[in-house]
Every structure is written in C-alpha cells, then in structure tokens.
C-alpha cells in the first residue's frame, strides 16, 4: 500500500516538472493511429484473410470479416511512393515549406500518409527508403498533437 502511494507521488512529481504528454492523433472513427509507448503505427490485421489495413478498420473490406479483425503494430520501414512539398500555409496553420506523401510498408502491404522530417524537404524522392518516427505536429487547432513522420533511413 505504502509502495503504491510512493509510486503515485513520484508520477505526480514528474507531471509537475515535465511538459504534459501530448495527445495522440486519432483516426476517422476515433481509433488509435499510433502506439506512443511502443513507437509504432497501428493498423488492423484480418485473421480471416490475412490482409493488413491502415488506418484501422472494424470490418475487413476484402473478406467482410468483423470478428477476426484486430489491432496490429505496423513495420517501421517503408519506401516513398509519392511526395510533394507544400509552399503555402494550410487551413490549419501548418508552417511551410514541409514535405509529405505516401509511404508503402512492404511487410504489411499498406500505404500510409505521412509527413517527412529530418532532411531538407527536397530529399524525399519516390523510391527512397524511410523509417518511422514519433513526432509532434504543430498547427493552429489544436496547438500540438503527437503524430508521426518518416525520415530517410540513412539518418535513422
């Protein structure tokens, strides 16, 4: 009992001194997109047809199974399929220039929308090998959210 109280006091102390944890970005129906503790993207795996999806699905769109669809951590390594560099502020106030695009995750057979970071925006050409990182995204509303980016594998 006293040990538990001690732990609780420690965690409160940490909350006081550290910045509050960012809220993780969520998907279209409120599902988790990332697991901050493990540092991975979360998709769905259909046990009936063995297909993986991102973002998470309640019903497998290939075999229509509902019961056997569950959360799955996606691979961290991918290849850029397509990319662009935004040169104007977005409606939510993201500051230009920034690069984003679609990353294919070969192990899972999914394509993921992602920001690119860690290098100049021009560095993210299709075909480049990239690796997942947790990263906050800053815009007007809300102030900051924990999301993700992919960066060039050579830097990771």
């Amino acid at each position: 009992m006293s040990a538990k109280r001690g732990e609780s006091a420690r965690s409160e102390a940490r909350v006081d001194s550290d910045p509050p944890a960012l809220e993780a970005l969520r998907g279209p129906t409120g599902e988790r997109l990332i697991d901050p503790a493990r540092g991975v993207l979360l998709g769905s795996f259909c046990g009936a047809c063995t297909r993986t999806w991102f973002p998470q699905r309640r019903i497998c769109p290939r075999c229509y199974s509902g019961e056997r669809v569950g959360e799955r951590a996606l691979g961290r390594n991918g290849v850029i399929y397509a990319s662009t560099i935004v040169r104007v502020p977005s409606s939510l106030g993201h500051k230009p220039p920034y690069a984003y695009g679609y990353v294919d995750l070969p192990r899972d057979g999914v394509r993921v929308f992602s920001r690119f970071s860690g290098s100049a925006p021009e560095a993210f050409e299709p075909g480049a090998a990239v690796e997942f990182v947790l990263e906050p995204v800053a815009s007007n509303a809300p102030a900051a959210t924990l999301a993700w980016a992919f960066r060039l594998e050579t830097l990771a």
Partner: protein
Amino acid sequence: MNEVFIGGAGMTPFGRHPDRSLRDLGREAAMAAMRDAALSPRAVDAVYCGNALGLALQGDSGIGQAIGWELGICAVPVFNVSNACASGSTALHQAWRDISAGHCESALVIGVEKAAMPAGQVLEVGAAEFETRLGDIFPGLFAMVAQQHMARYGTTLRQMAQVSVKNHGNGCLNPYAQFNRPVTVEEVLASPMIADPLTLFACCPNSDGAAAIVLRAGRRSARDVRVAASVLTSGTYLPERDFTSWDCERRAALAAYRDAAVRPSEIDVAEVHDAFTICEIVHCEALGFCDPGQGGQLTASGATAIDGDIAVNPSGGLQARGHPPGASGIAQIFEIVAQLRGEAQARQVRDARIGLAQIMGGSQASDAQACTVHVLCRE
C-alpha cells in the same frame, strides 16, 4: 426506360458574389433554365439540388427547398445532393434515373455554391481528417499525381502549363467565366509554387455561382439535347493504387460509351474536371481521347483547342470559368448544351454533335470518392 432530354439551361456568371446568398444565385440560374425550356415552375415535378459546402461554410441545409420557395415551387419531392465537386452532376444523375424510370416527367436540376474566400484566407474543409491534421492540403494529392505522371510517361511542366494557357484563352471568350485574361506558359510556370510541381496558375480558384438545367421525358423542342448516357461511380481505395489514373473514371467512361453507343473518337466537345492542370491530361487519357501517357502530347499538339480534333473545356474549364464545387458539374452541362445547339458564340466548336462531361468529387484514402460521365447528343 424513358429517353431523357435537356430542355433548358441557365447559369450565373462565376466568380465572387460576396453580397449574394446561395438561394439568390440558385434562383437566378433556375429561372434562366426554366425560361430557356419554356417551363412554368408549376410544371416542375421534382427538384434536385447539388451543393457541397453550404452546411460547412454558410450553415445552410435544405438549399433545394429554399431555392424552390424563391421560385414558388412547393409540395414536390426535393433532393439535396452532396458529393463534393460531383454534387451537381450527381444531382443530374439522380434526376436522370428518376425520369428514365418514369417516376417523374420534368425535373429542375440545380448546382450552387459559395466557396470564394476573403483574400488571404484558405478554404477550410475536412479539418477532422487525420491527413488534414498532419498538413495535407487539397492540391497535394494532385501534385503527387503530376509527379507520378511525369516520372512514368515523361509528361513535362510545359505540357501541363499549356492546359492552363488553353483554358484561360477559352475563358476570354466566355461571358460567364471568372477570368477573362490570357496567361502564357512562362506566367504559369513563374506563378507562386503551391505544392511541387503545381503553381498557382495550375490550380483552379474557389468560386461562387450557380447553374441549372431542366430535364424532361421525351423531346419537346428541336433545341432539346438528349442525355445518351449518365454514369456515376465511386472509388476502390486500394492501397496499391497507381496515381497516374483513376479506376473509377475508367469504369465510368467505359459504361458511358457503352450506354450511349458512341466511341471516344466520335466526341466533338468535352468538359472535364481540370481542377489542376495535370487532371485534364489524365482525364483525356481515361476518356480515350488518346492512349495512357499521351495526354501531355495531346495538349501540346493543339488537338484539345476549340478548333482541334477534340475540343476540351471550350468554356475555360474550372481553371478559367471558376469552380463553385457544387455548381461546376451543371455548368459543364450548360456549356455542352450551348455547344450542341450551336449557341456558344465566340467559343463555338464547329459542327459539334456529340458532347461529354466528366467530373470527380471527394477524396478517400488517396482515391476519388465519386466520378460522373455524361454523354449528350444533338439529333
């Protein structure tokens, strides 16, 4: 199935109408269409109103009923249709289905939108989507379509710019167009970069405006234009999707040519969804005006000009006529009707007999949500 004819068409000038409401713009376009068809509001059996953003931007819903109220149209079925940029054309498709099936004799189809933003303000839609929260902007996906098309087929920045040059030139001939100023390839390429490789003049504006048509069962007048095909599809959202074309558009085009019993080579004039310059190139390929990958060369050859083999966007397209999303699909029909009747004045395509209109709407997992293709014939 009843044969369906367009008896009348009308539209407001597209552009900025800050002092006018959705119902005000809609009434003007609808009155013009009914006058053109010599149809009394009393004879309208049903109303179909396409609008994409009214609820989000103006807090307006039930716009079809509001416009009907303005016109004295009451008691009849009213359908409010929302399908992003394909809202107006989806309203037309729904009306076509109902008249074909004998549910009604005459329909008023309206497309209306107020999407022009005050200077310096960005149109805010889809803020709840995680892609938008990560910084996705609307031109971004089409920038990637351009990137993929250039890499795969060798399409050039100059070829894409020529779409904008042609359409702005055509817009100078259209009294309803938002922009009446020509642009050069150099101006398009030197305009501010929005999302690499798309510059400002590679993108259509967000506009205000309305367009309307009267649809009827059977021919009533020699000026009537027959709807030979009306097709609506949705996306497949496959993760391995190739960005250089849209499967929903190919399927819509194939079905439309089959239903109309015409070949792509028989199309004299087309209005296509040139929201971004690369889009017109991709649509020319999907609609069979050239082989896949040849859309850039087709544009550069001059074949898509008003006096070319296949006139594409003689109205100026979204690029120059302007783009009120819910209204553009009906404005395309307005243009094809004018062309097939020989009433398009300075922008008339010579001896146009068969026309086509194509528009897409919405975005879902990098695929389009909706695509419509209509084939219209003068007999």
